[in-house]
């Protein structure tokens, strides 16, 4: 009972630390999207609902993965002590951790959609943003697993050049992010 209470308290503290649930950007996004949606229904109801069905199906296909990653974040946060994250993804060893993060991002295939809360949780417990940005960028732009597909459509040279350049630029973007952010 007492531990329950403590957990609830720490949960709300955590929540307050990051601001309210509905931050201003989200509210604006809701307002813009909803007004656009109403306009869209008035203009072309059938076309609008057809598109909604298509994107709902896409979302439904991802929902298992989304829930899994969100629950995984909880496990990560309660098992990996922040000191470890700070040590390996923190402000020391930036070059090494950035290269490793970029490699991990290249070979991982999870939707970017769930990658944001995942890396957000790492930043919350002290990870440096440079390796995080490298991971985010290679995750989506470099495709180790999808390389055979790309090669089939565009040939080896194009795919190889594009993937290598994306990897290199992911690291450059990450380092610049460290300067500007």
């Amino acid at each position: 009972m007492v531990t329950d209470f403590c957990l609830i308290i720490s949960y709300y503290k955590n929540k307050r630390k990051k601001g309210d649930f509905m931050d201003i950007v989200t509210i604006l996004l809701w307002i813009i999207t909803l007004s656009w949606f109403i306009y869209s229904i008035k203009k072309d109801k059938k076309k609008t609902f057809n598109s909604v069905k298509t994107s709902s199906k896409l979302m439904k296909n991802m929902i298992g993965e989304i829930i899994a990653i969100l629950m995984l974040i909880g496990i990560i946060l309660s098992f990996i002590p922040p000191e470890i994250v700070k040590k390996y993804l923190g402000d020391s060893n930036i070059v090494l951790s950035t290269i490793i993060a970029a490699i991990v991002g290249s070979i991982t295939l999870i939707p970017a959609f769930v990658a944001f809360p995942l890396v957000g949780s790492f930043i919350d417990i002290g990870a440096n943003i440079i390796p995080i940005v490298a991971f985010l960028t290679t995750l989506t732009m470099v495709g180790f697993v999808t390389f055979p597909l790309e090669r089939k459509e565009f040939g080896f040279k194009f795919s190889f050049v594009r993937n290598i350049l994306s990897f290199g630029f992911a690291i450059i973007i990450a380092l610049l992010m460290g300067v500007f952010y």
């Binding site: 656009w36 949606f37 598109s51 994107s55 809360p117 732009m141 459509e153 594009r162 630029f169 973007i173």
Partner: protein, 240 residues
């Protein structure tokens, strides 16, 4: 069988559930802590998911992709760069869906510069994803990354178009078969279900992918089939 298939389709979810069950049995305090840690992210996700879904639908309804596509071409220059960015940013689906789409555009005359920009923009700077990014990492983070990535994409596109020549891409390109039959390339299918909704007699959804259940020759093609081929967001349906 059904249960096995379900597990197969959601390996990650299944693993996470097993981990949670084990934690509940052996270390219930950790299980509770993990769940409460996740709760914040779940609530944030619930806040942003419906709006992203709507935004994706609205973009799909109102962004005139055909018009944008017609702006690309061998000598499209700056205009081509801008429209490639727009096309990539307003698309839906994972990066592998961009390959057949770009191949089709390439056949229609888009240049390598255009193609690299579309693939990269499709991968990293899609509009609904930017909304999600600013939700979890902050608007400043999102904006700076967006600017840096956009610049990087242009540089990458220029370099690629200098290294790779147009005829080097056509090497393993099969001739289009005029007498072919209707096929659906499941590797590229993103499972949006559009085909199965428009013509359930030919297309069904199986394991999150579209499947063709009826043999259709090219000569049997009709307007509806052409429309489905044209509207498939991954260009995964064709006569071959």
């Amino acid at each position: 069988m059904n249960i096995i298939n379900r597990i197969k389709n959601n390996v990650l979810l299944f693993l996470v559930i097993v981990i949670y069950l084990l934690m509940i049995i052996f270390i219930p305090i950790k299980a509770k802590e993990s769940f409460f840690n996740s709760l914040y992210y779940i609530k944030e996700m619930l806040m942003i998911m419906p709006v992203i879904l709507l935004l994706t639908s609205l973009i799909d309804t109102w962004v005139p992709k055909r018009t944008i596509e017609s702006m690309l071409g061998e000598n499209s220059g700056i205009k081509g760069i801008v429209f490639s960015f727009l096309l990539g940013s307003f698309s839906a689906g994972p990066i592998y869906a961009a390959f057949p789409v770009c191949k089709t555009l390439f056949k229609k005359g888009a240049n390598i510069l255009n193609i690299v920009i579309i693939i990269s923009a499709w991968a990293v700077i899609k509009v609904p994803m930017l909304a999600n990014e600013s939700k979890f990492l902050g608007i400043k983070f999102m904006l700076i990354r967006w600017i840096l990535t956009s610049i990087a994409i242009i540089i990458m596109a220029v370099i690629t178009s200098k290294i790779v020549k147009k005829d080097e891409i056509f090497i393993n390109n099969k001739e289009e078969n005029k007498e072919g039959k209707l096929i659906l390339n499941s590797k590229y299918c993103i499972g949006c279900g559009m085909c199965a909704r428009k013509n359930p007699e030919i297309f069904i959804m199986k394991n999150k992918k579209g499947v063709i259940i009826k043999n259709i020759e090219k000569k049997e093609s009709n307007n509806l089939i052409e429309e489905i081929i044209d509207n498939c967001p991954a260009k995964a349906i064709e006569f071959h």
